[in-house]
């Protein structure tokens, strides 16, 4: 056993998988729903123990010297083809340790919350257990993704979480719209996965020439130096691209993989599925579509940081895509009234932030924001779930208001999350967002990095605005719901609220894990940014942060001012002058409708891609190819031909003379014997 080997990691992945298997067998084979206490014990227990094991693994990891901080768990060789081989193996380094803790920790809280949220759900039989089965399966796949030590295991998890996302978005499948949203998420993700797969293939193909026969991340990294400057000829029809006809391999692979990240992490142009994914139950939105799965793209870019360091073009694309997505989604969020839609666009926007950091080479900042975002966005979603429960499944903020008095605890934790995401010090969002803005400010390698920083700053102001708009419209003022709802509004029970308190605590303090050194100096703490120090050996980060303390303070102050402006604007419009928004809507008619209807991107995609595809499939592929050629010619045509031939000619062989058959048999036997002795 090599130093650093362990069998702990496989159990972290396996436990939630076993939980899902237990539920799946009971539902699928035994066809009987287990009692709820059993379902809760198995699913929450599996994820809870996985969390404890992750903590144990972290302790084990921290006990090792800094240069050898890697735990490895090789289960077996998955497959080998020639010299190429892929192991089913798990690795825990600083990066996957952070991700694993987020996935199992936040995941466990959301599991507990779901017990309360799904308790009164009687929409279909077995729904309670089915829900937890999918949730456990998701946790298993997500852990596979973050713990996998090679690209293939990662891809396995990547597809697994996509499947679970589909299953959970369409969880209430009796409503066709939910099923449609699930399919949309799945199909849009396939487009991204296509790019991801091409990236893997390219990498494997190129690595073989470099003598690397495995696709474990460490070995790719070791062999990548020889490949970094290799060029690949682009096919002729791509000749219009800059730099054609030859591209550097690193750039090409980086862009292909980033297309996968765009799909999974909902970036332009593939972000349209995430807002519709809100059709799923709210805990699902919190776990999958805010805290964990959608950050997989960021994790992947950080995991392959060596690749993006070698490909400045790809990194710049990542940064700019992220920056544009952040601003774009933030503007849409301003005009949404559905509480979950606002949060969904906010998630898209925050993911954009993470990609800005990753593209600017500040992978540590990206992971930092990933972690803090997981806490406060999960809190926001779970808080909105509590609001939705209180309002008896009403999601439209037009019908809310005044919930501060009716649901005071929900209001308090929601406010904490709003402050955190808006970036007010000293809450977690302030530190992580600042790190990102600073990285954009200093990223010399990215063209137009100051403009990118300005985009980020503008987004920060917008974020504060739409979050406080949401908060005021939900909790301030007076309730706008109809009377029969109004009389039954009540705050949910403690099973729902306790996870909120825990998340609120972390939303406040998580920022201090990655306290930038500039504040550390202020407090007299050396090496205050323990997260960055922890991650440094894994991430290939340029240490280009050579800015003076004064600049750092200035940038931070600007970000806080931006957040304040957004907050005050929201307060002015929605608290102090509540009649103004309606008048503003009237004055800005066209612009308002454009933003409210999400810039008609869905409609444009529909017209450009979906409709032609559906029409071609229906009119050509179905009617001509399937019904005409395959059914008409191949299947029925063969049958008709055989029937015609048999009824006209072949039937005369059936003479009814036994001895005629005997003669044919004899001749046949003779022919066979003659052929054998020839």
């Amino acid at each position: 056993m090599v130093d650093g080997d362990t069998t702990l990691l496989r159990w972290i992945v396996l436990l939630p998988g076993l939980g899902a298997a237990v539920h799946g067998v009971m539902l699928g084979l035994l066809r009987r729903e287990a009692p709820r206490w059993f379902v809760v014990a198995v699913s929450c227990g599996a994820v809870g123990v996985a969390f404890l094991l992750s903590c144990a693994a972290l302790v084990q990891l921290l006990g090792r010297p800094e240069e050898g901080r890697l735990l490895l768990d090789e289960a077996y060789t998955w497959f080998g083809a020639g010299s190429f081989h892929a192991e089913l193996a798990f690795q825990l380094d600083a990066l996957s340790a952070v991700m694993t803790l987020v996935v199992t920790g936040v995941g466990f809280l959301i599991h507990v919350y779901s017990v309360g949220y799904m308790a009164d759900d009687h929409r279909d039989d077995g729904g309670f257990q089915r829900f937890f089965c999918y949730l456990n399966l998701f946790t298993c796949a997500m852990l596979l993704l973050v713990l996998g030590d090679n690209l293939l295991v990662m891809f396995l998890g990547w597809e697994g979480v996509g499947l679970c996302s589909y299953l959970l978005i369409g969880f209430w499948y009796s409503d066709r719209w939910n099923a449609f949203c699930g399919s949309k998420a799945f199909i849009v993700n396939r487009i991204g996965d296509f790019g991801f797969l091409i990236g893997i293939f390219l990498l494997v193909w190129a690595l073989r020439d470099a003598g690397v026969t495995s696709i474990a991340f460490r070995e790719i990294e070791a062999g990548f130096g020889a490949l970094a400057d290799r060029t690949v000829a682009l096919p002729g029809w791509l000749g219009f691209l800059p730099g054609a006809p030859e591209w550097r391999l690193a750039t090409l692979v980086g862009l292909c993989l980033f297309l996968g990240a765009c799909g999974k992490s909902a970036q332009i142009p593939l972000y349209t599925w995430l807002p519709d994914a809100m059709a799923g139950p709210t805990p699902v939105s919190a776990l999958i579509h805010a805290a964990t799965m959608v950050t997989a793209g960021v994790y992947m870019v950080c995991r392959l940081s060596f690749l993006y360091e070698a490909a400045p073009g790809a990194a710049a694309t990542v940064a700019w895509t992220g920056g544009l997505t952040a601003l774009f989604a933030a503007t849409i969020a301003i005009a949404q009234t559905d509480i979950k839609k606002v949060l969904a666009y906010s998630t898209v926007s925050q993911l954009g932030y993470m990609f800005v950091a990753a593209g600017c080479g500040a992978y540590g900042a990206a992971i930092f924001h990933l972690g803090t975002h997981a806490f406060f966005k999960a809190l926001l979603f779970l808080g909105s779930g509590a609001v939705i429960l209180a309002m008896h499944h009403e999601q439209d903020t037009d019908k809310m208001g005044g919930l501060r008095r009716l649901a005071p605890r929900t209001h308090a934790v929601f406010l904490i999350a709003v402050l955190a995401i808006a970036g007010f010090p000293p809450l977690s969002g302030f530190f992580s967002k600042d790190e990102i803005l600073l990285s954009a400010w200093t990223a010399e390698g990215v063209p137009g990095h100051r403009a990118l920083w300005a985009l980020g700053l503008g987004t920060a102001a917008l974020t504060a605005f739409y979050m406080f708009r949401l908060h005021f419209r939900t909790f301030a003022g007076s309730l706008r719901a109809p009377r029969e709802v109004r009389e039954h509004v009540r705050e949910p029970g403690s099973v729902v609220l306790v996870p909120l308190y825990v998340l609120a605590f972390f939303s406040i303090v998580a920022g201090f894990v990655g306290l930038p050194q500039v504040y550390g100096d202020l407090l007299g703490v050396s090496h205050s940014n323990s997260l960055a120090n922890f991650l440094r050996p894994v991430l290939h980060e340029e240490h280009g942060h050579h800015v003076s303390h004064a600049t750092e303070y200035g940038l931070a102050a600007l970000a806080v001012v931006a957040a304040l402006v957004g907050t005050l604007l929201a307060a002015w419009l929605y608290v102090w002058r509540p009649r103004l928004p309606a008048r503003l809507r009237g004055a800005l008619g066209g612009l308002f409708r454009l933003v409210r209807d999400k810039y008609y991107v869905d409609e444009a995609y529909d017209a450009a891609f979906v409709r032609p595809l559906v029409v071609t499939s229906d009119k050509v592929l179905f009617r001509v190819v399937d019904a005409g050629l395959i059914d008409g010619v191949a299947v029925n045509g063969t049958a008709h031909a055989v029937r015609g031939f048999a009824s006209r000619a072949l039937k005369y062989a059936h003479s009814g003379l036994t001895q005629g058959y005997l003669l044919v048999m004899l001749l046949g036997t003779l022919a066979v014997v003659g052929w054998l002795v020839r």
């Binding site: 009814g656 003379l657 036994t658 004899l666």
Partner: protein, 100 residues
Amino acid sequence: MVPLEHVIGLSVILFGIGVVGALTRRNLIVILMSIELMLNAVNLALVGFSRAWANVEGQIFVLMVITVAAAEVAVGLGIVIALFRNRESVNVEDVSLLRW
């Protein structure tokens, strides 16, 4: 000692008689008998070869064939009786229901 050629010759003649009988006779019982004749012609050949090459396998085959032939006759005669009960005839030309 009878030479192998003679044994094979007799076997071929018997087999030929069996084939002609099976193909030309109309009586189902005679056809069955002709088939029996063919089987025994084969038996004769097998025994002959077995002796010529001092190999006992041929004789084992013969026992097999006799067993199968017995079973075949039992089934065949059963069919003939069933046929006769239905048609009052054992002429194969009367049995032509399954023609076009």
